[in-house]
């Protein structure tokens, strides 16, 4: 089998580009720890409250150290349970200062959902029996819509929340 000289150059160039992409994302993933979320902790989907993080009183935003936050969320068709405020009303907005480190922990009581903080790199599948977990630095200020981006039923498009990142 014979390759034309130009085809050889083209393939070397193409392969080189692909290798370069892989090196960059491989380096970022294995040395900088920016893997996509791949958490392997499981949970009983019919009894998520048994898990410390998903007890009703532990849902929502919590500051665990200076500039470090954890948000616990239970997804269900068609709602994100982010806890309730002092008046007992369901929380719909998460407010954190710019530059803070936020760990999102999400699980589902029923079907598969998505969890994306649109406009950031927080984008996870949420599957029954699993805990989805991703830590990120909120680099940019603004109002970001949280959307369920995996079809979960006929109310799928009504499933949302807001993350507000404010300038300190």
């Amino acid at each position: 089998m014979h390759l034309h000289k130009y085809e050889k150059i083209w393939l070397v160039f193409g392969l080189g580009s692909l290798a370069l992409f892989l090196l960059i994302i491989g380096f970022a993933a294995f040395w900088k720890g920016t893997h996509p979320q791949s958490h392997i902790e499981t949970i009983d989907p019919q009894n998520v409250e048994a898990h410390e993080s998903f007890k009703p009183e532990n849902l929502g935003l919590r500051e665990v150290a200076d500039g470090k936050y954890i948000v616990n969320i239970v997804a269900s068709a068609f709602n994100y349970d982010i806890g309730s405020d002092d008046a007992g009303k369901p929380v719909k907005t998460i407010r954190v200062p710019k530059g803070s480190t936020v760990l999102f922990q999400v699980t589902t009581k029923d079907v598969v959902h998505g969890f994306q903080v649109a406009g950031t790199n927080v984008n996870m599948m949420v599957e029954p029996g699993h805990i989805s977990r991703l830590e990120t630095v909120m680099k940019n200020a603004g109002e970001f819509t949280v959307v369920c981006n995996e079809y979960c039923g006929i109310g799928h498009h009504q499933m949302f929340a807001t993350v507000e990142v404010y300038d300190e």
Partner: protein
Amino acid sequence: MAKDKLRHQTTKNDDTSIDLKGTFISVMLLGIFILVLWFGIYALFLSR
């Protein structure tokens, strides 16, 4: 389909006989498009 005959490997192995300059320029432009798009998106990823 005819049986593979013994063929004289003359023209084909001689790259200068087929001019594929246009092809080469075209695929390289395509390669550059891929690189530009990929790095653009990667920059967006890093900025978020």
